[in-house]
């Protein structure tokens, strides 16, 4: 029988806590919900006292300042994008190139303009 267990935790990284619970319980958990400081963990069946303690320990030791690997990757990608915006503020000058390379540079400049327009930059 499915079971919901509710805890109170002032700050959580939802994706990280979800990952920590799934690493421990696998398919025994289907995830969690957060409503303010209330955290509800969803289990697919009744659990033992030991498992309940394990969930409690995971939640108590959870450090919301840490990130999942995916969040790290995403943060790194955002940092790279921000840096590239700083590095490439000047539009590409197609006249610096000739022949097919010049045509390609024209296309790249056009794409830059389209992206700036889409992003209201």
């Amino acid at each position: 029988m499915a079971r919901e267990i509710t805890f109170t935790k002032s700050s959580i990284n939802v994706e990280l806590l979800d990952q920590e619970l799934r690493e421990e319980f696998g398919t025994l958990t289907t995830g969690l919900s957060r409503r303010g400081e209330t955290v509800t963990v969803y289990m697919t069946q009744d659990i033992t006292a030991t498992q309940l303690t394990a969930i409690r320990n995971i939640i108590e030791s959870h450090d919301s300042s840490q990130k999942t690997l995916q969040q790290h990757t995403q943060a790194g990608r955002q940092t790279e994008i921000r840096q590239s915006r700083i590095d490439f503020t000047t539009p590409l000058d197609p006249t610096l190139f000739t022949g097919l390379l010049g045509d390609l540079a024209e296309r790249v400049r056009w794409l830059e303009q389209e992206i700036r327009d889409l992003r209201n930059l």
Partner: protein, 168 residues
């Protein structure tokens, strides 16, 4: 106030106060104020889930109860979703039983981390017996997380509404 199927008067039949009260006054009262329950949500925080099986969005705020007279019920939910790169599914639940099979009635997917999608969900529930019935909204994600704005107090400070009304 219960709606009573109007009677058919015959020629020469006197109009009585009882009939007028039953078939005109009471029926108009019933149509003017049908059984309804409306929750305006202001939780002071948003709601986030990672659940890959259907769970209550919020067992209190996204739950309404009405005492029906046996007619159809319209369930309405208006809210906004953010922060999901996978499908988010919704379904309605009546008296603890899902109204839709499989992945529910609605799916939402966002393309960017800053996207917000408004959802206006309407479902007709038919075949209910007269009496008290509780309606809830449930959701799940295909993966990752989903956030439903519920009056966090910070921008965007959005306030969903969940309601049910007997319409028949």
């Amino acid at each position: 106030m219960t709606f009573t199927t109007p009677k058919t008067w015959v020629t020469g039949e006197p109009l009585t106060a009882s009939d007028l009260n039953t078939y005109v006054r009471d029926n108009q009262d019933a149509l003017k104020s049908p059984p309804a329950d409306i929750n305006n949500v202001d939780k002071g925080s948003n709601i986030t889930t990672t659940s890959t099986s259907f769970v209550d969005v919020d067992a209190t705020e996204f739950s309404v109860t009405i005492t029906t007279t046996g007619g159809r019920v319209m369930i309405i939910a208006c809210f906004s979703i953010a922060k999901s790169s996978s499908n988010v599914y919704f379904r309605t639940v009546t008296d603890g039983s899902a109204d839709q099979a499989d992945d529910g009635i609605y799916a939402v997917k966002l393309n960017g981390s800053s996207d917000i999608v408004p959802v206006a969900l309407v479902f007709w529930k038919e075949g209910l017996s007269a009496g008290s019935h509780t309606f809830k909204l449930q959701w799940k994600v295909a993966s990752t997380t989903a956030t439903l704005y519920a009056g966090a107090g910070s921008s965007p400070d959005l306030h969903p509404q969940f309601s049910a009304v007997e319409v028949s």
